[in-house]
């Protein structure tokens, strides 16, 4: 009978792990990428010493190690499944569950389900879960000791160690031990040691007491109280303590109740994931991830399924269109967010500047890409470095010929698990100047990067793009960004001025957006198409006539959007 129950519980625990793994790997992988991209885990003793040397440091170190796996979706799913599933037996053991009690068994999943909900927020750090697991393991370890005096003394003695390993969430351990020992002197001493650890740590570690007391590594933003971590801890404590004190059912459990308990867990897992899943955030992060991977077709596929509307996603889309040679034709088939959806102004944060940096990089504005990347990395709220940023900083230094600096970043990346091969290939390139010049990406960017020096000005982006193209007329992307930028600014005279620059670029037809802009300009000054010097597609010319007619008829905005939402005219008149 006992085996049967164990089998049923085992099956449902595996099912829980599978559901969690599939959810994160299949439906939420970009949240995991996000974690991975904004850290730089180095396999070195110095790094280990640095990370573990503060309260909660061991948990943070282990979490950072696990986070590396989130680069690969299935591995990220495994990591999350392992973290959350490990919670379950620890909670159930803490409840001192009598074997075969299905409802108590199912109740033991609650903290893991709370954690599942919490980790739908990409800023809740894996270190929070690891910290709680450390406290639970420590508690279980203590529970194994039979000699009460030895256990109690040891339990007090290890509080500072657990505080150093897990940070202030060591409180979970303290409370569980107090509840287990049920001695007033023990409770008083345990709380005193816990409070002293926190108070004294402000004199040892370079953080204010408020930060040390709420935890340094539980949330990405140190200035924000890590509510999710403390809710996870509270849920764990509540479930364990309630599980211990709720009276046991007298009747013997039946198999169906075990299956029903397991099914309930499964349903709650799916329900929690569905309820807390932030799909719009996942979509935004997906654009960032696809941009990082240079998966331009992926971006176009995604945009075709659902129009992007955030600065970051629209910027990614415009970049993908340019890379696919479709910017001139299809830019206004998609929603456009002014110039902020093409070359967003610099903001002191770490996500959007990286996408913008990618645009500047692909354009050949290497120094600007370098600056945006550097600043993005510095803006990572918890002060971590980023492997992704190191990659780009190494590349920009490589293109600029700053080999000592490139080597510095690459040597750091060589100390990682997932980037060492990439770094070694670039280090080999440094040794071979000719190979670097021939390199399809770096060689090309070296050729097209600005040869003259002037100061960056986001107020004069069109001038900078013009100078960029004028300096290297093979840089078709610079030309298309220049015209696209003028169109987004609704600066038709500037567009008209720059349009002839593309004469030598080998276009087989005038791209559709340009045709629409030219038609718009022409019709603003002429009553008919007679004498129009450009070979405009007849359908476009006819649609322009219809647009003007409907516009003057003051048709509703909804009607105009439905009919002309894919044209530059609509953007010009209504966006």
């Amino acid at each position: 009978m006992k085996d049967t129950f164990q089998f049923i519980y085992g099956v449902f625990t595996v099912l829980f792990a599978l559901l969690v793994g599939i959810y994160f790997a299949g439906f939420y992988p970009c949240h995991l990428h996000f974690h991975e991209q904004f850290q730089l885990f180095l396999c070195s003793a110095d790094y280990a010493r640095e990370v573990t040397g503060v309260p909660g440091g061991l948990a943070d170190y282990l979490a950072r190690f696990l986070t590396q796996g989130m680069r690969v979706p299935w591995l990220g799913g495994v990591v999350m499944a392992a973290l959350l599933t490990a919670w379950v037996p620890l909670t159930q053991k803490g409840m001192e569950r009598k074997e075969g009690e299905p409802w108590r068994w199912a109740f033991g999943f609650v903290p893991a389900l709370v954690a599942l909900a919490a980790y739908c927020d990409e800023h809740v750090m894996p270190a929070a879960a690891v910290s709680i697991l450390i406290t639970l393991i420590a508690d279980r370890g203590m529970a194994c000791l039979n000699s009460a005096p030895l256990r109690q003394i040891l339990a007090l003695f290890v509080i500072p160690i657990i505080y150093m390993a897990a940070g202030p969430l060591a409180l979970v351990y303290v409370i569980l031990r107090i509840a287990a020992e049920r001695r007033l002197w023990f409770a008083g001493l345990a709380l005193l040691i816990g409070v002293l650890c926190t108070l004294l740590s402000q004199y040892v570690f370079p953080y204010p007491l408020s930060h040390l007391a709420r935890g340094l590594h539980y949330y990405r933003y140190p200035a924000v109280f890590p509510t999710a971590a403390w809710v996870m801890a509270g849920a764990t404590l509540a479930v364990i303590l309630a599980g211990r004190w709720i009276p046991r059912l007298q009747s013997s459990p039946r198999r169906w109740t075990a299956v029903a308990g397991g099914t309930l867990v499964g349903l709650l897992t799916v329900g929690t994931a569905a309820a807390f899943c932030n799909t719009s955030r996942e979509e935004l992060l997906a654009y960032d991830y696809l941009t990082y991977r240079h998966d331009w077709n992926g971006i176009l596929r995604k945009a075709t399924q659902k129009q992007p509307d955030w600065s970051l996603s629209v910027t990614s889309l415009n970049l993908a269109l340019a890379e696919a040679g479709q910017l001139g034709d299809y830019q206004f088939r998609f929603f456009q967010r002014s110039t902020e959806g093409m070359l967003p102004a610099f903001t002191r944060e770490y996500l959007l500047p990286l996408t913008t940096a990618e645009v500047f990089y692909q354009l050949g504005m290497i120094n600007t890409a370098q600056r945006y990347t550097f600043e993005a990395q510095e803006a990572i709220p918890d002060g971590q470095k980023s492997a992704r940023c190191y990659q780009r900083l190494a590349e920009t230094a490589l293109i600029n010929g700053d080999y000592p600096v490139a080597r510095k970043y690459l040597n750091a990346l060589k100390k990682t698990l997932f980037y060492r091969g990439w770094a070694q290939r670039r280090l080999d390139l440094i040794q071979d100047e000719e190979a670097l010049t021939r390199h399809p990406e770096y060689g090309y960017l070296r050729r097209v990067k600005p040869s003259e020096d002037y100061l960056f000005s986001d107020q004069e982006m069109d001038s900078m793009l013009g100078r960029l193209f004028w300096g290297h007329k093979e840089n078709r992307m610079a030309f298309e960004y220049l015209l696209g930028y003028c169109l987004l600014k609704k600066d038709l005279p500037r567009f008209y001025e720059c349009y002839p620059l593309g004469k030598e670029l080998g276009y087989t037809h005038i791209p559709r957006s340009y045709q629409e802009a030219l038609l718009l300009m022409w019709t603003q000054q002429h009553d008919s198409y007679q004498g129009m010097p450009w070979s405009i597609d007849g359908t476009n010319a006819q649609r322009m006539v219809e647009f003007i007619r409907d516009y003057h008829a003051q048709r509703s905005a909804e009607y105009m959007k439905q009919r002309y939402g894919d044209t530059y005219w609509y953007y010009y008149a209504f966006e």
Binding site: S44, D46, Q202, Y203, P206, Y207, P208, L209, H211, P222, A223, R348, M365, I366, N367, T368, Q370, R371, F374, E375, Q377, E378, A379, I380, G383, K385, N400, G401, D402, P404, V405, R407, K408, N411, A412, K449, P450, S451, E452, D453, Y454, L455, F456, S457, M464
Partner: protein
């Protein structure tokens, strides 16, 4: 049983013997070249208290090569070390050797065993040990060489006699950027420290007292930065700058920092007032980087003709000027001397730092602007205060940026930052200056494993300042004060001398 009891001590002994065992340098090929070591310590001059100058072979291929080093003192004593990739000098042996040979030199012989080639013995080089002592500590800021955004950074203090470094104050403690730190002639109890960001303030430590100020007033341009203490400790000269940044599109320079306006003013710590002199706060002139002379009777500063920014940013050039100052009254004199007319040479002066013996003044010279740290052409220059002659310090300059610099309290040692290592991350170099103003070849701040340390360090050092004792700052109190909302406001006292001013050029 007996055997078992002896097993572990024997194993330990064997391991110890193996550890202690060194390979003899046999059949070595003699090379006429100096060894290619990092940092370059060939022919440097060091103080006798300095931490061991450990070095590594520069080439990555030599990381596993066996390095045999013998150091022989001209006055006796010898040290020998053998390890992989570089040296691992024993601190106590090193100190004994330096003490014994102070005023003379060490002869360093490096032999390298590479698997494929066997031993090579390189040309020996000397390390001169000067008898002039150096202050025991050096404070500096470490920060990523970024643009506008900053991550974790702080003010740190390095014990020059060992490798110990400890934090004075870090950004995580104050949730802001800590910068512009200045001690009064190496006195760690007199500290002015500026904090930028949400909790922006100026922290002033006067012996046992610690207070935070809001140095911006309605009558001045903004917050007070670039502090310099008066030798008597009553006054602190600051500049107040409306600073902006520009970013180069071309490759050689990354960043341009320039002012839209700037003035120099003096804070009277006793009267709690800012002394604003009209001669140092003219609209058409930008004054910045103040520094009191060694006797405290004059104030050096950099001065440029205002230009339209950013259009003519490359035409902003600063001269080095001096105005008399009366510490008894806090009054300025009526004569402004131009000590270095860099503008006429198409150059620009920044960071003037007079030696504490009053004999010299070191400054940075670049093509334009005042934030020379981002100018690869920036070099250190020396002004002879007595004769007015100035010269480039070719002994210490490199092809890359030399910028922030500071004097030891006895004016015999100089610490400065340079980007020569990799072109981006500034490192600290130390060099000796004799009474005639001649400098020795600079050496990089020693580290236990220099190659590993510096290659892993993704921060720049800036604003080095010698201190004579450790900075005992109550960090918890400082953090509380800075993160709190209370700020002492400052009064402003206007001093007018402009209508009486006599300008002269001392070229």
């Amino acid at each position: 049983m007996k055997m078992n009891r002896l097993k572990y001590p024997c194993l330990l002994l064997m391991a110890g013997s193996l550890w202690a065992c060194t390979q003899p340098v046999k059949n070595a090929v003699q090379s006429a070249d100096y060894p290619d070591i990092y940092p370059d310590y060939v022919g440097v001059t060091v103080p006798s208290q300095i931490a061991p100058l450990n070095f590594d072979l520069r080439s990555e291929e030599d990381e596993e090569a066996l390095v045999d080093v013998t150091l022989r003192g001209a006055r006796g004593g010898e040290m020998h070390t053998q390890s992989r990739g570089g040296t691992d000098l024993n601190e106590s042996d090193w100190k004994d050797l330096l003490r014994r040979n102070a005023g003379d030199s060490l002869q360093v012989t490096v032999s390298v065993k590479r698997e494929a080639r066997g031993w090579t013995t390189y040309r020996s080089f000397g390390i001169h040990i000067d008898t002039d002592s150096i202050d025991p500590l050096l404070a500096y800021r470490r920060i990523a060489p970024g643009y506008e955004v900053y991550s974790r950074m702080g003010i740190y203090e390095r014990d020059l006699t060992s490798y110990d470094e400890r934090a004075v104050l870090e950004s995580t403690q104050v949730e802001g950027c800590v910068n512009c730190h200045a001690f009064n002639r190496g006195n760690p109890n007199r500290l002015s420290l500026h904090i930028r960001g949400e909790h922006g303030a100026t922290l002033l430590r006067m012996d046992d007292q610690m207070e935070v100020y809001n140095t911006a007033t309605p009558k001045t341009l903004g917050l007070c930065v670039y502090p310099y203490w008066h030798p008597e400790g009553r006054y602190i000269a600051y500049s107040t700058n409306q600073t902006r940044q520009g970013f180069h599109i071309g490759q050689k320079k990354r960043l341009e920092v320039f002012d839209l306006a700037s003035d120099v003013l003096v804070y009277d710590t006793q009267a709690h007032e800012l002394i604003v002199c009209d001669a140092l706060s003219q609209d058409s002139i930008w004054e910045t980087f103040p520094a009191f002379s060694a006797d405290g009777k004059s104030l050096y500063f950099c001065s440029a003709q205002a230009q339209p920014i950013p259009a003519r940013v490359k035409e902003v050039r600063y001269n080095l000027c001096r105005i008399p100052f009366d510490p008894a009254t806090g009054q300025f004199g009526h004569r402004v001397d131009t000590l270095v007319n860099a503008v006429s040479e198409g150059k620009s002066v920044s960071f003037p730092r007079p030696s504490f013996d009053g004999r010299w003044l070191m400054y940075t010279l670049s093509d334009y602007g005042n934030f020379s740290i981002w100018h690869p052409e920036a070099d250190l220059w020396l002004l002879d205060v007595q004769s007015g002659a100035c010269r480039a310090l070719d002994e210490v300059n490199s092809a890359d940026t030399e910028s922030y610099h500071t004097w030891s309290t006895d004016s015999r040692w100089v610490a400065f930052s340079s980007r020569r290592d990799d072109g981006l991350y500034t490192r600290i170099y130390l060099a000796h200056m004799d009474k005639e103003g001649r400098m020795t070849k600079p050496f990089m701040l020693p580290q236990r494993r220099p190659k590993t340390y510096y290659s892993h360090l993704f921060q720049s050092y800036n604003i080095p300042e010698f201190t004579t004792a450790p900075v005992e700052l109550d960090k918890v109190k400082a953090s509380g004060l800075i993160r709190g909302t209370e700020r002492k406001e400052l009064n402003v006292r206007n001093v007018s001398v402009l209508d009486k001013i006599v300008s002269s050029s001392n070229e």
